[in-house]
């Protein structure tokens, strides 16, 4: 009898957790006209980075949407950097995170900081997706080939081949000052990011 109750409790708990995990909250812009693929609620973080604040940011160079190759060390001694890894084009949260950052040009500029967006998507996909966002003021890089190599270098490549939703704040000397490997299902808090940028020297 006791076992039945335990079994019943576990079974109810299982379905309750299933219910809780099946209702993510996000707004979808009409801009994307129903083209956004909803993957449902995902495992919040599926990787473990070895990088920590105070370590040197790994160098890399990747092709950008504008056709140039962008290297991290181009900005050394010139700009602070925010690297914004987002998991995939045409998915919720990712599709509004960068449009929001698109309103931040003046604030980033005031703190001598450049934003760099990275996904593991290929250039044509990134082109089609970002065209829906309007004119982006920051470079968007494709970590498509070798697949996810930079995401892996930063320890944010998930087991299914997409990156985490992660932010790395890097100062002008190339030192990582802040890392947020965020719950993939939610948008990082903008105020926290801005506070980290404000702490950097101009």
């Amino acid at each position: 009898m006791r076992n039945d109750y335990t079994y019943g409790f576990i079974s109810c708990l299982f379905f309750f957790v299933l219910f809780l995990s099946s209702s993510p909250a996000f707004g979808v812009s009409e801009q994307f006209q129903g083209k956004i693929f909803d993957p449902g609620m995902l495992k919040p973080v599926d990787s473990k980075t070895k990088l920590k604040a105070g370590m040197k940011a790994p160098d890399f160079s990747l092709p950008s949407l504008s056709g140039n190759v962008v290297a991290l060390n181009e900005y050394r001694n010139k700009k602070n950097i925010v690297l914004s890894f987002v998991p995939a084009a045409w998915t919720p949260v990712c599709s509004d995170q960068w449009p929001g950052y698109n309103l931040m040009e003046e604030i980033f500029g005031r703190h001598d900081t450049i934003l760099i967006g990275i996904t593991v998507d290929n250039i044509p996909t990134l082109y089609a997706w970002t065209r829906e966002m309007g004119e982006l003021w920051f470079p968007v890089l494709s970590d498509f080939w070798p697949h996810g190599a930079v995401s892996k270098k930063y320890g944010v490549l998930r087991s299914n081949g997409v990156s985490e939703r992660a932010l790395f704040v890097i100062d002008k000397k190339g030192i990582i000052r802040y890392i947020d490997v965020h719950d993939i299902n939610t948008r990082p808090n903008l105020e926290i990011l801005l506070k980290e940028i404000e702490r950097l020297k101009k």
């Binding site: 209702s23 707004g27 812009s29 801009q31 449009p99 929001g100 829906e132 903008l190």
Partner: protein, 191 residues
């Protein structure tokens, strides 16, 4: 056998939760229906308080806004379409403000779904928005209004008893502020 029964109770609990959640999520009100009761925080800015006909601080139900027609834009700072729409909505506000007969009868507010007060402030500053914007950080209002895509416009005819009737709604761009206003005035019987 008994285990099977208990398992079925679990399934039932799940579906009850889902059904309760759908009910809580609310549906998008249609023309002729009333807009769900929502509560907002009074703006700190005096000009905005005056615009809404409110006094003091704290929260207030939307029914307290002094107007005959209330336009509610559901938007997000993170929505590229809402960004493109901002100048058009500003021109709608200006159009209403410059019409002596309309400015006390038609009011406009924006609700930023999933946006913090800070993010609402960024959107306001970026587009020089003069009408009141309110944050809906927890998506509570977004859920109550059927989780519409953004931007979405609800137009309510406000009654003296505090109730309201939805006279018009639109998903996506209003395209032409003048034409949009004309439609609203016609649909609401204000003109």
């Amino acid at each position: 056998m008994r285990e099977k029964g208990v398992f079925l109770i679990g399934v039932l609990v799940y579906f009850l939760c889902v059904s309760a959640s759908l009910h809580a999520a609310g549906h998008t009100p249609a023309k002729g229906e009333s807009f769900p009761p929502i509560t907002l925080q009074k703006p700190a800015n005096k000009a905005e308080l005056d615009y809404l006909g409110l006094k003091g601080t704290g929260s207030f139900p939307v029914s307290e806004i002094k107007t005959e027609l209330l336009i509610i834009e559901i938007y997000s700072m993170y929505c590229p379409y809402c960004q493109k729409e901002a100048p058009i909505v500003n021109s709608l506000y200006e159009l209403i403000a410059k019409e002596k007969d309309l400015k006390e009868k038609v009011k406009l507010i924006g609700i930023g779904v999933g946006n913090t007060p800070f993010e609402v402030g960024i959107f306001r500053k970026q587009y020089n928005i003069e009408f009141p914007l309110f944050p809906d950080e927890s998506f509570a209002i977004h859920k109550k209004t059927g989780e519409v895509r953004t931007p979405f416009f609800f137009v309510l005819k406000m009654k003296p008893d505090g109730s309201n009737t939805l006279v018009y709604s639109k998903l996506g761009s209003i395209e032409d502020a003048g034409q949009f206003l004309e439609i609203l005035l016609k649909e609401s019987g204000l003109q």
